[in-house]
């Protein structure tokens, strides 16, 4: 081994956009590097959707769902949001897994802004999420009889909205991951948060069919806004203020949790 030559250009830092770009492509390469992971990552929600639409086919006859002409039309947009929520939870676990491999340790000793490491993480997850959502929408149309009345534009808007919601929510889990670097705790928190969030919403049943207290919870559940907005856009129904609320909540979560995450990230354990 010998030392590097002295006539080399001195590199002492890169711009924020470069940092985010380089780190995002790195994560994407890792995310799409293993085709088996990509395949099963796409298959998983399709299986879930198939089970739900077949087991709960009878739900389609309920008064609140009947106008949708089939439970799949009611469920499909909610599934987009559901997948976004699951991906968001994975962001925290993914960040911690990287901390264990040591690469995050190296990144923290480089002259780069902590926010670019976290931004790249969430951007790469969002890119993967978009591909996943597009694939499951396609599968729904081809194999499950999903009829998106909103057309290609409506579907694209729905996928985009679900992606932004997932992106915003992922900051909450990234913030938890930087706060307590503990995988078990992270999983426990995700599990406890996930089921109430999804089920106490308009995802699987219309609010009108729920008992009063649950209806109250579902009405204030931010996920309900996201699902109502996605559903309206995909099915070509008037969305009202739901998309605006969903975007506002996602942005709020990103800013609030993002500030906490960036502050925590610099500190070593």
């Amino acid at each position: 081994m010998s030392a590097p030559g002295p006539d080399r250009a001195e590199w002492t830092g890169s711009s924020l956009p470069t940092q985010v770009w380089v780190l995002t492509t790195r994560s994407l390469r890792a995310a799409f590097g293993d085709y088996r992971l990509v395949f099963f990552g796409l298959l998983q929600p399709v299986v879930l959707l198939l089970l739900f639409t077949q087991v709960f086919a009878g739900v389609g006859a309920l008064p609140g769902v009947a106008p949708y002409a089939g439970y799949v039309n009611y469920l499909m947009p909610a599934t987009l949001v559901n997948i976004a929520v699951i991906t968001a939870m994975g962001a925290g676990a993914g960040l911690m897994a990287e901390t264990y491999t040591g690469v995050v340790d190296r990144l923290r000793s480089l002259p780069i802004r902590p926010v670019s490491v976290l931004l790249a993480r969430t951007f790469a997850d969002s890119a993967r999420l978009t591909v996943q959502l597009a694939a499951i929408t396609g599968a729904g149309v081809l194999f499950l009889g999903f009829q998106p009345r909103g057309g290609v534009l409506g579907l694209a808007a729905a996928v985009l909205l679900a992606t932004v919601v997932g992106w915003g929510l992922s900051w909450v889990f990234v913030a938890i991951a930087t706060w307590r670097r503990n995988v078990e705790l992270m999983q426990a928190v995700s599990f406890v948060a996930m089921f109430p969030l999804m089920f106490s919403s308009s995802a699987y049943m219309p609010l009108a069919s729920m008992p009063g207290w649950m209806r109250a919870v579902a009405t204030v559940n931010p996920i309900t806004y996201a699902i109502d907005a996605t559903r309206a856009l995909a099915l070509g129904r008037p969305p009202g203020a739901a998309p605006a609320w969903a975007l506002l909540l996602a942005l709020g979560a990103a800013l609030g949790a993002g500030a906490v995450a960036v502050r925590n990230f610099r500190r070593a354990t």
Binding site: A9, S14, S109, P111
Partner: protein, 314 residues
Amino acid sequence: MPRPRIDAVDLGKTYAEVTALTGVNLQVEAGTVLAVLGHNGAGKTTLVDILATRVPPTSGTATVCGFDVRRAGHEVRRRIALTGQTPSIDTTLSARANLVLFARLLGAPARAARERAAELVELFGLTEAAKRPAHTYSGGTRRRLDLAACLVGSPQVLFLDEPTTGLDPVGRNGLWDLVRELARAGTTVVLTTQYLEEADQLADRLVVLAAGAVVAGGTPRELKARVGARTAALGFPDAWSARSALDRFRQSGLAPVLDPGGHRVSAPLPEAGRLLPLLRALERAGLDVVDLAVTEPTLDEVYLALHHAAWDLA
């Protein structure tokens, strides 16, 4: 006179109720190799972590390359590189891809980053491993990649936390050569170690840490002078000749100790010149020497000697 590369004043770190580091004063110039010597838990890693801006100090101040580690951490990180005790690389990427990534993040254009990565792959003997993902590497290869990652830029200060742990003798010698060469080119190297021999081989200056405090500092030569230098151990064919040899040791001005086994005699060796007269005296007495070893003091002996010195002063 230019400011020292590292300037620490009364540096301390307390975790909850544990004092990890206390009252450390340190000045290290450009092109100097500083060895931080100490047992596990003596505060070596804490000191490196503070200087490399990984953890903030709880008391005192430190500047690295003229920038305060607490207030201008980003500026410090532009000028340093660090290898911790566990390799910090992306194990899903190949050696080459890792090096390209770090070069890009340091601001190298894509093409220059690839060239730099190729150069380092060659330099660190990673050619064979360059295309496989790093999780398939052996421990030694990962360490080499980790070191290569430190040299993607041109750090003014390089921190190496127990860099030779887990390296084979060949790898260790390679690393020592590299450290010497970097120091010659003007890089300040701070390395932690548990071995006086390593510090002696590499360091221009060293500090000994115990329980978070500096208990000794100076050049390796100064420290060895305080500690009482090396030990000579001679083996004899039987217990009788070993006993007879004790007198010859004393006549040569040495303080011999007979091994419990009875066949070996050892004595502190204040200077190397005392050895030859001793051997001649043994030869004249017709005593065969079947084994001879001169060893550097271990870290334990350093601690012990420093401890005694403290008692003598009290």
